[in-house]
């Protein structure tokens, strides 16, 4: 069976959950091989992790020539690896940067590209959620090496022991690829909460919070959830843009989404409509968000959320 390349999603060598989801999907198309682009000293540690999810090989690419620049060097590195391996497909976790890497790679490999897949079936047929989650589309790459970016939470990771043997892969990065320089980078402060896009539960607040996110954060912590926000809350300066859910923020697809004081505009829905269970607290019973919910409470979030948090903590006892 041909290899399927899966780009490992990691921060400083720490492998993120979407990687395991992609390895699980990759096994439907061929033999998963993971690709680690990073500090060579961290490759073995990453390999230990991914071999539990079916990675037969782990290609280790030193990022010394890559990490200082945006997008283009990564695409070159993957092109060179693909030229050697001739994979059945290349899968990348859907993130802003990875989608751009995939875009450049598709042109380089003269291959079709599918972004933001939420499922991949045998034979490479992908499912995408389109038009703000209002439609589902199935598609297939028909030319070259399918390049597919996959959204987090698209598959339940399935453990499957494999060799995970590390192979160093040397790449040559052209000067032309080193033209968009990362001049400075300020890593995001760890919140102690799960990553928004990966979280099983997301608790969001909107304009209805009036700028006080205490109740939203309290509920999030009681549920072990990530915190999200609407653009109105972000634009008001109440919470940084990185917490924004929606068309121009993050797309989330958790098991449970709790929308508090969020009206449910189409652009917000675009980022959360594929959540498995949706709950809302809003004082306006006409709020469009209630059209989406499995359970809704018409009420003031400043009283409902603290009471709910207390009730949850009591039940957890």
């Amino acid at each position: 069976m041909s290899e399927v390349l899966v780009l490992i999603d990691h921060v400083g060598g720490e492998v993120k959950k979407p990687t395991y989801e992609l390895l699980t999907l990759a096994a439907r198309l061929g033999t998963p091989s993971a690709v680690f682009i990073g500090d060579p000293g961290q490759a073995a540690g990453a390999a230990e992790k991914v071999k539990a999810y079916g990675a037969e090989k782990v290609y280790a690419i030193d990022d010394a020539q890559i990490k200082g620049y945006l997008v283009a060097p990564k695409a070159e590195a993957l092109q060179q690896l693909a030229a050697q391996v001739a994979p059945a497909a290349v899968l990348l976790p859907s993130s802003a940067e990875n989608k751009e890497v995939a875009g450049r790679l598709a042109i380089k490999l003269e291959s079709g590209l599918i972004t933001d897949a939420v499922d991949i079936a045998d034979g490479g047929v992908t499912t995408q959620s389109v038009f703000a989650g209002g439609f589902t589309a199935t598609a297939k790459v028909t030319k070259g090496t399918p390049i597919i970016t996959v959204k987090p939470n698209s598959a339940a990771p399935v453990e499957s022991a494999a060799a995970g043997s590390v192979e160093q892969f040397a790449v040559t990065i052209s000067d032309a690829a080193k033209t968009a320089q990362i001049v400075a980078a300020q890593p995001r402060k760890a919140s102690g909460r799960p990553e928004l896009t990966e979280a099983a539960i997301v608790v969001s607040g909107g304009r209805g919070t009036g700028g006080d996110f205490t109740a939203v954060e309290g509920l999030a912590d009681a549920l072990g959830a990530a915190v999200g926000a609407s653009r109105a809350a972000v634009d008001s300066g109440w919470i940084p843009h990185t917490f924004q859910v929606g068309q121009t923020g993050k797309t989330v697809s958790p098991q449970l989404y709790v929308a508090n004081g969020i009206s449910g505009a189409i652009q917000h829905r675009a980022g959360m409509q594929t959540s498995k269970t949706i709950v809302a607290v809003n004082k306006d019973e006409e709020a469009p968000m209630f059209e989406l919910v499995d359970f809704g409470v018409v009420g003031d979030l400043h009283t409902v959320l603290p009471a709910l948090t207390e009730e949850i903590n009591k039940r957890k006892g």
Binding site: G103, A106, A185
Partner: protein, 266 residues
């Protein structure tokens, strides 16, 4: 200096969007407009021109799309762009991102007399397909640096610096013109066309080009040669109506806790 702003004509997101029988977007039967996210690109192009008022800067708005897509570049002209190009050709219908970027790359060059302009400006994503890949593809095809997804743009001479909310960090990215720049909705409110702007737009140059004008073969684009094919589209089944309760003296929290427990979230 020349700036080419790429703007897309999209179906109105607040209307009823749908697909045709061949699984392409219905772009004729619904109201369309200049993608809201591309208004930010037009705005940043105009601001660049205004900030560097001692230079001669031409802002050209460029769109690829069906007949009605001319509205997208018209709006850009009304906002203040100097000239516009509408690439329209039956053969383009149903193109994937690969083919779209090919046509765009050729049109960008032609709009600038055959050479790459100093700045190719794009939006963050279209509001219909919203892949957010065309700017990177354009950079790849034109052999240019990509300085993309900017929330803040600064330039000095041929140097460009942007702030980007990256996936794990907030980054400052630097590049040298010519380059491809894309901006987010955090970059600053887009202006409304003024009455004067609307009147002035009527006299601004607007050209329509076909694939032949660009030297692109019809066989390189369109639905039938797309490198990815949509097999099926279906409206998402409506969510079954949920239970809605009114909170009275704390009853809402108790009911919600009960629901969450029944679903094993607590």
């Amino acid at each position: 200096m020349n700036i080419v702003v790429c703007v897309k004509y999209v179906p109105d997101a607040t209307g009823d969007r749908s697909f045709e029988a061949d699984n392409t977007v219905d772009r004729v039967g619904v109201d369309g407009l200049l993608s809201e996210l591309d208004e930010y690109a037009v705005e940043q192009a105009l601001q660049l021109k205004e900030k560097r008022s001692d230079e001669e800067i031409t802002v050209t708005a460029l769109t690829i799309g069906p007949e009605k897509a001319v509205d997208a570049v018209r709006k850009a002209l009304q906002m203040g762009a100097d000239k516009a190009v509408h690439v329209q050709d039956e053969a383009i219908a149903g193109s994937d991102a690969i083919a779209t970027s090919l046509v765009l790359a050729e049109a960008v060059k032609k709009a600038n007399g055959g050479a790459v302009p100093e700045v190719v400006m794009c939006g963050l994503a279209s509001t219909d397909a919203s892949m957010s890949v065309v700017p990177a593809m354009l950079a790849e095809r034109l052999g240019l640096p990509q300085v993309t997804q900017a929330s803040v743009v600064e330039t000095q001479g041929d140097q460009v610096r942007i702030k980007r909310d990256g996936d794990t960090a907030t980054e400052v990215i630097g590049g040298t013109m010519p380059l491809v720049l894309s901006v987010t909705d955090q970059s600053g409110e887009a202006r409304y066309p003024s009455f004067k702007g609307i009147m002035a737009a009527k006299k601004k140059p607007l050209e329509t080009w076909s694939l032949a004008d660009l030297g692109v073969e019809p066989a390189q684009v369109g639905l039938s040669v797309a490198w990815s094919q949509v097999e099926d589209t279906a409206p998402r089944p409506p969510r079954t109506a949920g239970e809605i309760v009114k909170d009275e003296d704390g009853s809402g929290a108790v009911a919600l806790a009960g629901f969450l427990a029944s679903k094993k979230f607590i």
